[in-house]
């Protein structure tokens, strides 16, 4: 893992010189998280795909302005998330969040955390999350469902890091109210 940032930096430098293969590797490394961020925003897989594709093309064009001393992922997520927001606005629709609790993690045995949270509770928690206002839902989804850092979340949502902190705290409070006591 320690080698990755250096490798990524080299790929960025090569991509800035026009090396499409290098950029392709960067895309592969980040396309899943970028697509999922876009999906959270657009709530539509096709729109999210377009947002991710267009975002990566825009990032390629803007790579000369990227500061190589900084991590690439937040920068990419900011661009893709902007594309996703544009699509969401232009689409003018609010589809129901299509996330659902997976039947299983696909692993042979559930993790301790999975075992501790039963299927019904997972569904209830997701339903409560889905009912939150947009800002609250997105900040929690980025932080906890996608596991983004505060900086990455801030980049994706186009807000300051401090806003992520305060918004997360308020969102958790609202979620707690909506989730309610367990049966």
């Amino acid at each position: 893992m320690e080698g990755r940032p250096r490798e990524e930096q080299e790929l960025v430098l090569r991509a800035r010189r026009g090396d499409e293969r290098a950029y392709g590797k960067l895309v592969r490394a980040h396309e899943e998280i970028a697509f999922r961020v876009a999906y959270l925003i657009t709530r539509n897989a096709a729109d999210a795909e377009e947002a991710a594709q267009d975002g990566f093309v825009k990032a390629w064009r803007a790579l000369g302005r990227f500061r190589t001393s900084e991590p690439l992922r937040p920068w990419l997520l900011r661009i893709v998330a902007n594309e996703a927001r544009n699509r969401r606005r232009s689409a003018g629709r609010r589809e129901h969040l299509a996330l659902r609790a997976a039947a299983s993690s696909g692993e042979a045995a559930p993790s301790p955390e999975e075992a501790a949270v039963g299927a019904d509770e997972r569904r209830r928690l997701l339903a409560a999350l889905d009912e939150l206002p947009e800002q609250a839902r997105l900040v929690l989804a980025c932080r906890y469902l996608l596991g983004l850092s505060e900086d990455e979340t801030a980049a994706a949502l186009g807000v300051r890091r401090g806003t992520v902190k305060s918004r997360s705290a308020r969102a958790l409070e609202r979620l707690r109210e909506g989730y309610g006591p367990r049966a």
Binding site: E31, E49, V57, V117, L172
Partner: protein, 223 residues
């Protein structure tokens, strides 16, 4: 368990991440202008040929791929004229020859007698009449479905469509230019592009509507 841990422990069924296939040009460091046209290049060989002719294209603003078809949104109109749909399609070949060249069975309309098939650089084409108007059907022998979609403004409309469950585009309105292997550039009519049975197909007609194009596409069969 506290709420944050419960959230982190959720296992979600995300939509499958699509493999993003980006075709990139070196980013032009110039102020963007409004796209004026869409150039439709058929087959990568044709694209390469077009790129070799400096006056034939301007800066590429956007690239779309559908199998062997490349759609470019560019900012400068290449020199092109209206030409008959059947011009420059290559020599007439037998169906067996055409299918051998593509490595696939062709999808053909039910027309008796069948219209002649032309072959040029791995592209099989035929022209037939639909409601009295000529329609050009071209088929390519491969279908690596790397799609980069971009639907932006401009004089030409590019609509993402599904044809028989597969991906496609309908290109209409405004002027766009068709580059065919070995043929001079020409102004194209409305075009439906789609993929089916391992083929990339292209249907063109001056007055072709999306609805009619999709109907015609549905009538094509291995014959």
């Amino acid at each position: 368990m506290d709420l944050e841990r419960e959230l982190r422990a959720l296992v979600l069924a995300w939509p499958e991440t699509p493999g993003l296939e980006l075709e990139l040009e070196l980013a032009p460091r110039v102020r963007r202008r409004r796209p004026l046209l869409v150039a439709v290049a058929l087959a990568l060989a044709a694209l390469a040929a077009a790129l070799a002719v400096p006056q034939s294209r301007g800066s590429i603003l956007r690239l779309l791929h559908l199998g062997g078809v490349t759609i470019e949104r560019v900012d400068t109109l290449p020199a092109a004229q209206e030409r008959p749909l059947g011009a420059g399609l290559g020599p007439v070949v037998t169906q067996a020859h055409a299918e051998q060249a593509l490595g696939r069975l062709l999808l053909l309309p039910a027309i008796d007698p069948p219209p002649p098939l032309h072959l040029s650089q791995n592209v099989v084409s035929l022209v037939f009449l639909d409601e009295g108007r000529p329609v050009l059907l071209s088929e390519l022998g491969y279908s690596d479905a790397g799609i980069l979609k971009k639907l932006t403004g401009g004089l030409t409309s590019i609509t993402s469509v599904r044809v028989g469950g597969g991906p496609g585009y309908f290109i209409s309105g405004g002027e766009h230019v068709f580059l065919f292997p070995g043929a001079p550039a020409r102004l194209a009519g409305n075009v439906l592009l789609w993929q089916a049975h391992g083929l990339t197909l292209r249907l063109e007609g001056r007055a072709l509507t999306l609805a009619r194009a999709v109907e015609l596409a549905a009538l094509l069969r291995n014959r």
